[in-house]
């Protein structure tokens, strides 16, 4: 073996050039931004600001109230508007760092430099200050969210992002803490990334193959924390749609947060999900930050480069397209690069499979707030080489009134939360008139919105964390958000829900049966629709939120998954699980293109056809409450495949004539939501033969799913 150069010994950069405040330093490296370990020793600190006049590195011994040292970065270390300095002999594990940034005082409010404040590093890969969820913070802390140094090495054991084709995805939206915090979860470390790993077998059995995690970037659960006057209950920022650290996983979600091991724990979570064949998509919030409006805290951007990072009015106040006080200036070249580098970091360092962008319409607005024709940020993401395999899902609206479902700048790359799907399907399920035509459009992947992009651009959902969950959608006509402490003024009013005859809990068995049937009807439509289905965690076991349609502030049984429901509502769970299995078994339900009535596979039937009381004669009238869809194509083995889905939202049963099948094929009954369990749903592949091959009675407010199969030999 030949001797090789040992970088740690033979590197010129291993040696300091001078001292600052008693610390050995040398001119730093401009790139990468943030704090990184340098080959040969030392930590490189690099930070930029377009208008700052001086920057001082502030060092704390971990947990100490006052800094141990302040190191002004010599001006000769600056290149362009980047200050960088390599510091030697730091006890990297026990250091917290931040910056004082000096800048000119201007007459308007566009710049908000304040060197009396210590700023966090926007590129910090870990934060301390909220290491354990719910631990009351010290309000006198002069530097509450502290940047930490991190190791990024990890033993991935060959793990790779899964690259599951979009057509095959079934997404499951969950909150990391809420999923296992309830004692009924019986996991060793409730409410954590580690706890979530213990529930992977449950998700595997359910059949989903992608989890969408509500925000996991470092946030402060105590932001706007308050006591509800009426209940005395402590309210938190439970959901976390307010980012403090964009490069840092939330420490308070990690069982190991107090040891600063949240990065390893989160990476292990991703690795374990991947081992189970489940992708991990992160719900990310780039539309605003936790710094709020003029009265909010100064965390980093405000004091670093306010005019660069935020959309400002001509007077220098904050535009508020996010409804939360400020709006990130996403299409400034600087912020664009910041967001891109952040996404690349999560895709490469954490192996995540994609992102869902909160209030993504903001990401298409220019610095003055006007929507851009060709937003550079969205274009860059669409073509970014590191993000090529990542799902990019837009919540294609914002709080400033920009609604872009179907028109989001997409570069044939972006998909969208299809809000129109949710609204239409909800209205249909509750029995509204005049919906049937629109419903048909939604069931085949919303070609009116996504024809050019393909059906997988439509993320179909009926429920998500915002709004009623499924059980509440069939149990409440109106929201009941009193527990949020805002006198029921918060949350959406257009719920398109129907309580089935009584508001909230009821002993009436008839109403209870109707509710279960309605929930099953929803799952039938969702899981037989073209596009990518998304299920809200808990809906598969009919979890209630007691009519609260905006439970962002509750860290309690109201938002926690009650695992007793897995037993109590086994009927619903079995139904959903089998429906997911049915979808996986029938590729014709999940093709990438929109069916349009042709016969692309040559099976003798159109890829989609519509039926009513008479086969081939759908009722498209205003009053229509019955529609049946027949899907034809190939199954997994390449044989012809026929699926018939009938939905009746009328309060009376209807007899439907069935379309005929090719010779030798017979209709088999997969699901009938009017039937009592276990006859409500079959095991996919084991559907019983339908006695009457010519017609079927679809019960009041019920759905039926049939599959054409060869007669048993």
């Amino acid at each position: 073996m030949t001797d090789v150069i040992r970088a740690d010994l033979d590197w010129v950069d291993s040696f300091p050039t001078q001292q600052v405040a008693g610390y050995d330093v040398r001119p730093g490296r401009t790139m990468p931004f943030g704090a990184t370990m340098v080959t040969g020793g030392g930590i490189n600190f690099s930070i930029y600001s377009s208008a700052a006049s001086a920057v001082t590195l502030v060092l704390f011994k971990a947990g100490e109230p006052e800094p141990v040292a302040e190191l002004p970065i010599p001006d000769e270390f600056r290149i362009g508007s980047v200050w960088s300095m390599t510091v030697f002999n730091l006890d990297y594990e026990n250091i917290e760092y931040g910056y004082r940034v000096f800048g000119p005082a201007t007459e308007d409010f566009r710049d908000r430099f304040d060197h009396t404040q210590i700023l966090a590093d926007p590129y910090a890969r870990a934060f301390s200050g909220r290491n354990e969820w719910g631990q009351e913070p010290d309000r006198s802390n002069i530097y509450p969210y502290r940047s930490r140094l991190t190791f990024e090495d990890f033993d991935w054991e060959g793990d790779q992002p899964l690259r599951i084709p979009s057509v095959d995805l079934v997404i499951y939206e969950l909150h990391v803490r809420g999923f296992t915090k309830d004692p009924s979860s019986q996991v060793a470390q409730p409410g954590t990334y580690a706890g979530l790993i213990e529930k992977i077998p449950y998700l595997k059995e359910l059949g989903v193959n992608c989890v969408e995690l509500m925000p996991v970037f470092e946030f402060d659960e105590f932001e706007n924390s308050r006591i509800n006057d009426e209940t005395g209950e402590r309210l938190y920022n439970f959901w976390g749609y307010s980012t403090v650290g964009f490069f840092a996983p939330k420490a308070g979600f990690a069982a190991t947060g107090k040891f600063g091991m949240q990065r390893d724990e989160f990476k292990n979570l991703v690795k374990e999900f991947h081992k189970a064949g489940i992708e991990v998509v992160l719900d990310v919030v780039f539309n605003h930050t936790a710094e709020g409006n003029e009265f909010g805290p100064t965390i980093h951007f405000r004091g670093l480069d306010n005019r660069t990072y935020y959309m400002l009015t001509p007077e220098g106040f904050y535009y508020n397209f996010s409804g939360t006080g400020n709006t990130l200036n996403c299409n400034s070249p600087i912020v664009r690069e910041y967001v891109l580098s952040c996404l690349r970091f999560w895709a490469s360092e954490y192996h995540v499979d994609g992102f869902r962008f909160d209030l993504a319409a903001i990401l298409g607005r220019g610095p003055d707030g006007a929507p851009l024709e060709n937003p550079p940020l969205l274009e860059s993401m669409a073509f970014d080489p590191v993000l090529t395999d990542c799902l990019l899902i837009a919540e294609a609206w914002d709080a400033g009134g920009l609604y872009q479902v179907g028109s989001f700048p997409n570069y044939r790359r972006w998909s969208e939360w299809n809000g129109k799907y949710r609204d239409t399907v909800r209205r249909w399920i509750k029995g509204d008139e005049g919906v049937v035509g629109d419903l048909a459009t939604r069931l085949v992947g919303s070609p009116d919105l996504y024809w050019a992009r393909g059906a997988c651009s439509s993320i179909n959902f009926i429920t998500c964390h915002d709004g009623f969950n499924l059980a509440d959608m069939v149990s409440y006509n109106d929201k009941h958000n009193e527990a949020n402490g805002e006198h029921n003024n918060d949350g959406a009013n257009d719920n398109n829900s129907w309580n089935c005859g009584a508001e909230g809990p009821t002993d009436d068995p008839e109403i209870q049966r109707t509710r279960i049937r309605q929930m099953k009807n929803a799952m039938v439509l969702l899981l037989t629709s073209q596009g990518v289905p998304m299920i809200l965690a808990g809906d598969e076991v009919a979890r209630t939120q007691q009519g609260n349609n905006n439970a962002y502030c509750h860290d309690s049984e109201l938002t926690w998954f009650d695992w007793n429901l897995v037993e109590e509502n086994r009927e619903m769970l079995r139904f959903v699980s089998n429906m997911i299995g049915f979808r996986h078994a029938h590729p014709s339900l999940r093709e990438g293109h929109h069916p349009h009535g042709g016969d692309p596979v040559g099976c003798g039937y159109p890829d989609v056809s519509w039926h009513g009381s008479r086969a081939w004669q759908p009722d498209w009238s205003e009053q229509s409450r019955v529609i049946a869809m027949m899907r034809n194509g190939h199954n997994i083995t390449g044989d012809d495949n026929h699926v018939y889905v009938a939905s009746n939202t009328h309060w009376e049963e209807h007899r439907l004539e069935l379309p005929g099948l090719p010779d030798g094929m017979r209709w088999h009954l997969f699901a009938d939501t009017a039937a009592a369990a276990p006859a409500d749903v079959a095991v996919p592949g084991q559907e019983p033969l339908l006695d009457d091959q010519h017609g079927i009675t679809v019960g009041a407010r019920s759905s039926v799913v049939l599959v054409g199969r060869p007669m048993a030999a």
Binding site: D91, Y92, E93, N94, F151, D153, D155, A188, Q189, T192, Y193, A194, A254, A255, T256, F259, G260, M261, D264, E265, N268, K271, E272
Partner: protein, 120 residues
């Protein structure tokens, strides 16, 4: 940090006494790597550990990595409940043979085949 080295049934036992943190990790690491032989099983006795920080955990992972590349297996004994929790949450536990006592550990390690493939 003091490292006591002994040998039992052909298995190298290293007992770490003191704090394993960012200050002591480099020294501990190089000491262990020095004695880490090929095709052998190594038992780390952590019952004498004081403070163990993330840098200390990292050292253990590096030892695991080195051991694996030399077809060695690393056993751990004397884990505090807290350390066990941290290793479990981060998935590191699976890298080691973990036992409740030195005797158990020696027995379990003795059953690990010496010739292992999979050096990476």
């Amino acid at each position: 940090m003091d490292i006591k080295q002994s040998r039992s049934d052909g298995i190298l036992v290293l007992k770490l006494i003191g704090d394993l943190d960012g200050r002591t990790a480099p020294e501990v690491q190089s000491r262990i790597l020095e004695v880490l032989p090929s095709d052998e099983r190594v038992l780390l006795d952590l019952s004498g550990l004081g403070v163990l920080t993330s840098a200390g955990l990292r050292t253990m992972l590096l030892v695991y990595r080195q051991a694996q590349s030399r077809n060695s297996t690393v056993g751990l004994v004397g884990l505090s409940e807290e350390l066990h929790g941290v290793l479990a949450a981060t998935g590191f536990l699976a890298f080691f043979v973990v036992s409740d006592s030195v005797d158990d550990a020696l027995a379990e390690l003795a059953e690990v085949p010496v010739e292992r493939t999979g050096a990476r």
